[in-house]
Amino acid sequence: MTTLDTGTTAPGKKRALSFEWLGVAPFIVFAIMFLILPTLYLVGAAFVDEQGGFTLANFAGLGTPQIVAAYWISIRISGASAILGALIGLAIALALIRGKLPSGLRAAVMTFSGVASNFAGVPLAFAFISTLGRLGLATVILKFVFGIDIYKAGFNLLSFWGLTITYLYFQIPLMILIIAPAIDGLKKEWSEAASTLGATPWQFWRYVGLPILWPSFLGTLSLLFANAFGAIATAYALTGSSLNIVPILLYAQIRGDALQNPGLGAALAVGMILITGFANVIYLVISSRAERWLK
């Protein structure tokens, strides 16, 4: 085989080499034009003042109360929906895989998770308005059948908890999809070995199961955080521009220079990249470490 190899490639080596580059070039040009340059341009613009000189004032401008509040509520919503999504997703995945539920159920849940994790954006907002809005089915049933008026009790769909509950609709399925292979990686022999040695199921999970799942859990948690932090369509369709989260503030800035300073807009964007980038780096580092258990 090796002799054949050299035999066919040696005469046409130069031609093959240029073909390689021709094949990869569109991808590289594409990535530079539509991923790298636009991002670098914004990073550069964040350091430029309105006269075109170098400045750090744009980043100082991020300290204004409105912007700090926007970052804070964004971080809280992303954090809450990521933590709840990860915990609930883990519980459902564990119930499905380790809870001896019928095996057909697992395939159904996986398919549904694929759909629900992509069912984000504007239609998701509509679905939750029909469910938990003032006239939503769940709101009405809770009020007239159970006598619980959630809106009188202080709930509002257009608020922190409303948005968090809505985001969970794509966060939980994403967690299930990513964590399921990790749970599959928990070999049956381990729990058998543990119980042979006299461990209770609780001890097995406390000392074997959860420590192995922990890196995957943390990694997916940061992915979910980034996922929620950059999301805008659902929030915008749900609340219009009334909820002051970073993506909506940035949307208003792009639409009509709401901050009245393009440099500050760029700095706002760079702040977002730093936060989602940081969360994703954590995910990549942890998931590459977690993979060694899944072989």
Binding site: P38, L42, P123, A127, G136, A233, I254
Partner: protein
């Protein structure tokens, strides 16, 4: 033992309730347009709206273009990286992950400022230019998924042997990619395509900020102005997403496998 199964059912039941109730509620709400009894009036109203047809067609066309451009960009790159340029692989993988790290709203902000009408490549200077930019933006959004689908597909076939056999038979490189490799990974490419379609069809942020008459901004506009149509549209969108995902599931059963060389 019995107890653990009880807890499993309980967790599953609560989860199922959380995921099914919004769908049921939305469907119920979409039927309430006519006072007093259930009807499909809101669906009739949606389908007869010329704006619905126009924006949906527009988004579907942009989605198809994005799929074609995506395949043209990704397949050759993955092929050559697999075949001869393994050292490029980590860089290519990193690039394909970037759209997950950089939110869509940041990308479109960069496009608008970088490719404005007074720049060297004035994409946003004309309607057609903006359509092209929107297509490229969607290719970018779908890049992580398209790349992974194609890469997984190529892992299951023996790229080396197929290439050598085709070369001996006198095929040129474009012929090898177009007529040997592509048909062999068609199922994987189609999975990527359906996923791209599901992501693109109702996309709001980029289409809205580029001011294009797409389905996502239309949905948002209906949501702000109508009562029952949004519920109908949510059900329609769910069915589209569900359709795309079940196509992927269905296709994965037909995936061809030539066992890859292990050396």
């Amino acid at each position: 033992m019995k107890q653990s199964r009880f807890w499993a059912w309980l967790v599953f039941g609560i989860g199922a309730a959380y995921f099914l109730i919004p769908l049921i509620a939305t469907f119920e709400f979409s039927l309430r347009m006519r006072r007093g009894y259930y009807s499909f009036d809101s669906y009739a109203s949606v389908f007869s709206d010329p704006k619905f047809q126009q924006t949906f067609t527009y988004s579907a066309v942009i989605g198809l273009l994005s799929i074609i451009v995506g395949i043209l960009v990704v397949v050759p790159a993955v092929y050559f990286v697999r075949l001869r340029m393994a050292w490029l692989r980590p860089y290519v993988e990193f690039l394909t992950l970037l759209p997950l790290i950089i939110p869509a709203i940041i990308l479109v902000y960069g496009y608008i400022r970088l490719y404005n009408s007074s720049s060297i490549i004035p994409f946003t200077g004309s309607a057609v230019g903006t359509d092209i930019l929107l297509t490229f933006a969607y290719v970018t959004l779908a890049l992580p998924y398209m790349y992974r689908a194609v890469d997984t597909g190529m892992r299951t076939i023996d790229v080396q042997t197929l290439t050598e056999a085709a070369q001996i038979a006198g095929a040129s490189t474009p012929q090898i990619i177009g007529r040997i490799i592509l048909p062999n990974i068609l199922v994987a490419v189609l999975s990527g395509a359906f996923l791209t379609f599901a992501i693109v069809i109702g996309e709001f942020t980029i289409a809205s900020l580029l001011n294009r008459p797409a389905f996502g901004p239309y949905l948002q506009n209906i949501g702000a102005n109508r009562a029952y149509e949004p519920a109908a549209l949510a059900i329609i969108s769910f069915i589209i997403t569900w359709g795309a995902m079940s196509m992927i599931n269905l296709l994965s059963r037909f995936a061809p496998r030539t066992s890859a060389r292990t050396d």
